[in-house]
């Protein structure tokens, strides 16, 4: 009995009129936790009752504390008939269970009814007294912190990043139980809400146990999803990254972290360990690390037995080879061995993080993904959800082997998703294959000896671009060049990743949102036939989505994609693919070539003319985009290489022959049918359409930028105004024109119009950037397409961009491109001088991808396809030595300006009494997060039987989403917070039946409740700090600290 939960009901306000005769309400409250219920007195005849109840005390297990929500029901007392429910409030008390978070939940909560929406508010105070339980065999995991944020939360430091944790629980969906036929919609909705709340509590507790087993104390990048499988049940699954976090508590440690993230980033990894020969790993951690004995990680995962076979695929490198200072040998290999040894202990070396502590990410291989089509069947025993577990294990296994093929031992930016239509379900997983620095992983012995090497061998800003695989034994034909930055390592020509742009990456110009959109019709079919049809379509969809992304990337004159997210949605009669990513120009990768159009019938004069006209248009667009996104790669790189950009067409032919001769191991080749990616052949109308659609994508109006990553590359002078929003659109396709082209056009228009609308609505915020733009597509019915967008608009200051707040990397870049600076870089130029003898084709681009059909027998009705991508780079190099000098030189000037900027910032913070900010980002511009209060994870159902009266579908959903926001804000405020970061609307399932005047909607949202302090308010404190702390702040940098 290790916990006592105390609840007090204070008052209500704005209650609805329940008694028509008196226009008043006789309200009372039921407080329920587990199986215990308390009631308040009836407060007669008032719409603003003052109950001021005693403290209701529940004595409960901490297991229950974690699983159960506190349920508060407001009722209207009726002497003669049954009491009428006014509404309910569910309070997740999890945040009260760990010491650093909230201590009390107290505030006004909207009273929510699934039929009527919000009906007044209730003031509640909740407290928990927790007794320490030292029982080893406990089933609870109180104290493990959960974060939705996919980076190490601000004000914490990662001591160890343990790795992947996953869990799923299944249950019957109350909506499909027999009892649902006789109960009211309200009762059914409430049963569902309660069940899901209970299941997420249980899930979180189980994941917490796994984390404790791994000796971690937190889960970062926690992502929980629901699969509404209909008849076959309800699955709640979650993935996350287990970590051991240390709170940065001393103000000295806190302030630099907030005020000069870019600086901290550079210095911490290198300076923490002043003496390379000692074994200490930096402040506050060494002892702990040593004592953490190696826990055999198998124990925390259920599928351990199945995984053994697969592990043997990889060359096992013994622990010994990785141990301390072996001199000589290629560093990369050593590093890989060491990391591998640490990682191979894990079944799945996956990380849900998208941004990392400095030095964590060594190389990035490319995107790996896997999909599998499954037929749903009833889950017979909810306690043993083996089939679902096995499905996911299969997919993860595949991802892992793809990463292996890329010479990578880990997958970062990992995520999983499903799309369900009737009894067919597509499971997808994707991530970025990467080589990681073992310093942050569990293995304590490698520490110390690697660090100094790191320092010497990894030039900042380009290291992650270097290929992790063996050049002579490439997993697929790719075109490599020497890195434009360091000129020592090979880089691919294009890089696709699912992670955020690393802070130290050198980027030229600004980034932009790039989307590929695709629809494919599919015959209606049942069960197996349907699954087969979908499996057959998937590879083609992937291929085309890919081509589109590639072409659009080139059209923008960029060479890398970050935050790539490909969503394939299945409907009754079609499949939809939507890929979103943020394109950038990485300085380390080679300059992208243009797009060349080729026709098949060159004899026709007018046709030629047409083609050349198109070509001109494309070239113009590229030039325009270059200007728009300020992509001006420094010219020197060309000079050094000494060869003009080869004529692309010629190049492509060459390449073509290469790829034809090369023996493709995989069945499905995504490298564009062995044609070069950037030659478009417009020999049929289809291709013509493609070219047209390329050109019809309109850039955002001036003053607007958009990206789907946390921060916009190239913008970092954010001001404090933010506006988070959700926009939903549903279109009905007329069934007459259902051809692939018409469908594509409709879908394309839908997305483009949606974006245009957003730009128009937010025009008052110009100049601003839409960050973390997250599109979700669903196909609720035959002819309906639903697109949901959540994003945040952040204003930035145009003028200051030029003066003060350039990122570290940008500063360096600027320096590097000036003449004087070049002199400092003579060692680099010496070494690069030797390069021009090789005729590098820097302008050549191509995407090579390897993919595989997973070889799962068709008899098993599933088929996985996957692809892997690669890329290359080019850029300026700055050696470490010059970095240091530059930093010190630069420091003097921005200081004054930085202070000035802070002072001149609009004092808009003062009026924000009671305002709760929401953002999908992990930070709040112009502010410092001082405390994490706990995870917010809420699930709501709303139903109506008077759709027309509530303003139709739009009115209904508009009101519902506004109510969801209100309830999230109220919970955060009650926890004592003033913002939600990493907010995400994970699900928005909308169903309507206009004939019956009915509609239903399910929404699931999550995020981290935080307390933030404006930087202007912090200044008082920072003024007392040494001047060094007053560097211009750069929220962009904060993201990855």
């Amino acid at each position: 009995m290790p916990g006592k939960l105390k609840v007090k009901i204070v008052a209500g306000r704005h209650l609805p009129v329940m008694d028509r005769a008196s226009d008043l309400t006789d309200a009372f409250v039921e407080v329920k936790f587990g199986n215990t219920t308390f009631k308040t007195d009836v407060y007669l005849k008032s719409l603003n009752p003052q109950w001021n109840s005693e403290w209701f005390k529940f004595e409960v297990d901490d297991e229950d504390l974690q699983d159960e929500p506190l349920q508060i029901t407001v009722l209207d007392h009726d002497t003669y008939s049954a009491n009428d429910a006014i509404g309910k409030v569910y309070i997740d008390i999890d945040p009260l269970l760990y010491s650093e978070a909230a201590t009390v939940i107290s505030g006004w909560f909207p009273i929510y009814d699934t039929i009527h929406g919000i009906r007044g508010e209730i003031n509640v105070v909740v407290k928990v007294d927790l007794f320490n339980d030292l029982n080893r065999f406990r089933q609870s995991s109180c104290g493990v912190k959960f974060f939705c944020t996919t980076s190490i939360p601000k004000c914490y430091r990662a001591v160890i990043i343990h790795g992947f944790v996953e869990e799923l629980v299944v249950n019957e969906d109350p909506e499909y139980q027999w009892i649902d036929r006789i109960r009211t919609p309200r009762a059914s909705n409430e049963a569902r809400q309660r069940l899901i709340s209970l299941m997420s509590g249980e899930l979180q507790r189980k994941i917490g146990l796994k984390v404790l087993e791994m000796r971690g104390n937190a889960v970062v990048g926690y992502l929980q999803c629901f699969d509404l499988e209909g008849e076959s049940g309800l699955v709640v699954r979650a993935i996350g990254t287990a970590c051991t976090l240390d709170k940065l508590s001393s103000p000295a440690a806190l302030l630099p972290a907030c005020n000069s993230p870019s600086r901290e980033m550079k210095e911490i990894p290198f300076n923490e360990d002043p003496n390379p020969n000692t074994h200490s790993s930096g402040p506050s951690t060494p002892l702990k690390n040593q004592t953490y004995s190696f826990s055999p990680s198998k124990s925390y995962s259920r599928q351990s037995s199945s995984s053994d076979t697969d592990l043997s695929l990889t060359p096992k490198t013994g622990m010994g080879s990785g141990s301390a200072g072996k001199e000589g040998g290629p560093f990369k290999a050593l590093l890989r061995q060491q990391t591998q040894s640490a990682l191979e202990q894990r079944e799945f070396p996956f990380f849900t993080l998208t941004a990392f502590p400095p030095g964590f990410l060594v190389h990035v291989g490319g995107v790996v993904s896997a999909r599998s089509v499954k037929l749903l069947d009833r889950i017979h025993n909810p306690d043993e959800p083996e089939t679902r577990d096995a499905w996911w294990a299969e997919i993860r296994q595949e991802i892992k082997s793809h990463a292996k093929a890329l010479g990578c031992h880990a997958v970062v930016g990992y995520s999983e998703s499903t799309s369900i239509c009737e009894e067919v379900c597509i499971l997808s997983a994707s991530g970025t294959a990467a080589v990681l620095n073992p310093r942050f992983l569990q293995d304590g012995t490698v520490e110390g000896c690697l660090e100094p090497r790191l320092e010497e061998n990894l030039p900042a800003g380009c290291g992650f671009c270097h290929i992790p695989y063996d050049e002579l034994n490439m997993p697929f034909p790719a075109h490599l060049t020497y890195c434009n930055n360091c000129r020592k390592q090979k880089v691919p020509d294009v890089l696709f990743t699912t992670i955020d742009l690393p802070v130290d990456a050198t980027v030229i110009g600004k980034g932009c949102l790039i989307q590929a959109r695709l629809c494919r019709l599919k015959k209606k079919a049942q069960a197996e036939a349907n699954a087969t049809a979908i499996s057959n379509l998937l590879p083609f969809m992937e291929y085309e989505v890919h081509t589109q992304l590639m072409n659009k990337l080139k059209l923008k004159a960029m060479n890398a994609l970050f935050g790539l997210r490909i969503q394939i949605t299945v409907g009754e009669n079609m499949l939809m693919g939507l890929a979103s990513a943020t394109g950038v120009y990485l300085a380390a990768l080679p300059t992208p070539g243009g797009i060349q159009i080729a026709g098949k019938t060159p004899n026709d004069g007018s046709y030629e003319q047409h083609i050349s006209h198109m070509q001109k248009k494309i070239n113009d667009t590229i030039a325009k985009n270059k200007e728009l996104y300020e992509i001006n790669p420094p010219e020197i790189s060309e000079e050094i290489i000494g060869s003009p950009i080869p004529e692309p067409r010629q190049r492509s032919r060459l390449l073509r022959s290469q790829s034809e001769s090369s023996d493709e191991v995989t069945e499905l080749d995504l490298s564009h049918g062995k044609k070069d990616a950037f030659v478009l052949e417009i020999d049929d109308t289809d291709a013509m359409e493609d070219v047209h659609s390329l050109l019809t994508d309109v850039p955002p109006p001036s003053g607007f930028y958009s990206c789907n990553t946390e921060i916009m590359p190239g913008i970092n002078n954010w001001t404090s105004e933010i506006q988070m929003f959700t926009s939903v659109r549903v279109i009905r396709l007329s069934s007459l024109n259902l051809t692939n082209q018409a469908l594509n056009k409709n879908f394309n228009d839908l997305c483009e119009n949606l974006l245009k609308s957003l730009y128009f609505k937010l025009r008052s915020m110009i100049p601003c950037c839409l960050c973390h733009v997250n599109f979700t597509v669903s196909l609720p019915e035959d002819e309906l397409i639903q697109v949901t967008v959540t994003a945040v608009a952040i204003t930035f200051d145009k003028n200051q961009a030029l003066q003060t707040t350039k990122t570290h990397a940008e500063k360096l870049l600027q320096r590097a491109s000036t003449d004087n600076e070049e002199l400092l870089q003579f060692p680099l130029e010496l070494c690069s001088d030797s390069l021009p003898s090789h005729p590098f084709p820097p302008a050549k681009e191509h995407l090579e991808s390897a993919s595989s059909n997973s070889g799962i027998p068709a008899a098993q009705r599933d088929r996985c396809s996957s692809w892997i991508e690669l890329i290359k780079l080019k850029a300026q190099t700055i050696r470490r030595g010059s970095i240091k000098t530059t930093v010190t030189v630069e420091k003097a000037s921005p200081m004054g300006e930085g202070n000035f900027r802070n002072r001149s910032a609009p004092p808009c913070a003062n009026s924000t009494v009671g305002v709760v900010k929401m953002t999908p980002l992990s930070f709040i511009p112009g502010a410092k997060i001082t405390k994490y209060l706990g995870i917010i994870n809420m699930f709501f159902i709303r139903e109506t039987t008077s759709l027309r009266e509530e303003g139709g579908v739009s009115g209904f959903l508009h009101a519902f989403i506004a109510e969801v926001f209100a309830m999230v804000r109220a919970h955060v405020a009650a926890l004592g917070g003033n913002a939600v970061v990493s907010y995400i609307m994970k699900q928005c399932v909308f169903m309507e039946n206009p004939n019956k005047n009915q509609a239903q909607c399910l929404i699931n949202v999550s995020g981290d409740a935080v307390v933030f302090v404006r930087e202007s308010e912090l200044e008082v404190v920072s003024a007392q700090q040494p001047a060094a702390n007053c560097q211009p702040s750069c929220p962009g940098g904060e993201v990855t600290t």
Binding site: I731, L750, K756, S757, L784, A962, E963, A966, F990
Partner: protein, 317 residues
């Protein structure tokens, strides 16, 4: 391809003041879109008409949801559904309760609860205000009237407290409520030249001086009703006309008070008897409800018109 559903919900509720204005003015979505197109917004922003349509729809939906809260402004302050900065909230409320003087002039002193559809139709055609807007105006008046009707304390303060209006707007509402309560006739042709501002000024003076509170702020302080005793007292003013001495005394007192302040002093002095008689007669009749209603008509007939016929340059009251 038809759009079934199209919504935008911001964490901070987005409010476009121009669209709010159009909504308050009672334009339909399509009319509002046309008006916005005319304002040249498409050229400024490079948007399309479809975007504008969707944006307008969205705002209208938001306003429609906000309307419920606008009916009880204090609720607006505490509600949790829409996150709106306080300054914005004040603006929303103020604009919602702001009114067109032309409309008020039509209904001033009328029984507010009888406004039939046909009446509103007539007013709408007459004033050029859309029917929807007329209805909002009238509903606002009714709502304010109903809330403060039975309330004690200063009328202006009550209105301000319950509707969070600015001082000026609250005073105007006080005047409207006062007129409606006393059913002063203002619609007669003779009174047409008087603006709402003129009446509001009168109402304020009357509230200050003629109501119960003006006599004794301790007891039963109601701003709404005229003080019966005071009216009774006014009856006794008849002596000012009946008794020659008193008439002279009154005249000399008034003349002393006004000497130098009035451009038409001599004319006034000459006509004093007539004017005074007119005023006193009006005042003496005020004990009857019907005569109270006709106060302004009578005043104009008996006092202002004679003055005007003498070409007084300004209207005195």
């Amino acid at each position: 391809m038809t759009s079934e559903l199209d919504i935008f919900v911001g964490n901070t509720t987005l409010i476009d003041e121009d669209v709010y204005r159009l909504w308050l003015d009672g334009y339909s979505v399509s009319d509002a879109v046309v008006l916005r197109v005319c304002s040249g917004i498409l050229e400024q922003t490079g948007a399309t008409a479809a975007v504008l349509q969707s944006d307008t729809m969205d705002h209208y939906r938001t306003f429609h949801m906000l309307e419920r809260l606008l009916h009880a402004p204090p609720k607006m302050l505490h509600q949790l559904i829409f996150q709106i900065p306080p300054s914005r909230q004040a603006l929303l409320i103020e604009s919602y309760y702001a009114f067109d003087e032309a409309f008020v002039r039509e209904v001033l002193g009328k029984k507010l609860f009888k406004g039939t559809k046909k009446d509103l139709d007539d007013i709408s055609t007459k004033t050029g205000i859309t029917l929807k807007s007329c209805r909002r105006h009238l509903d606002n008046f009714k709502r304010v009237f109903k809330v403060v009707e039975e309330m004690r304390g200063s009328l202006v303060d009550n209105i301000q407290q319950h509707f969070l209006l600015s001082d000026r707007l609250a005073r105007d509402y006080a005047a409207i409520v006062f007129f409606a309560n006393n059913r002063f006739e203002t619609g007669k042709k003779k009174l047409h030249y008087l603006s709402f501002g003129d009446f509001a000024f009168c109402a304020e003076l009357m509230i200050q001086n003629w109501t119960l509170r003006a006599i004794d702020s301790q007891v039963d302080d109601m701003d709404m009703d005229l003080d019966k005793e005071f009216l009774q007292d006014l009856k006794e003013l008849k002596v000012l006309v009946a008794d020659k001495d008193l008439l002279d005394l009154h005249k000399s007192l008034v003349c002393t008070a006004l000497r130098g302040k009035l451009g038409v002093f001599s004319e006034m002095e000459a006509n004093f008897k007539n004017l005074s008689r007119g005023l006193v007669n009006v005042a003496a009749k005020l004990t009857h409800n019907k005569d109270v209603r006709d106060l302004f008509v009578d005043l104009v007939e008996k006092f202002v018109e004679p003055c005007r016929s003498d070409h007084w340059p300004l209207n005195e009251y």
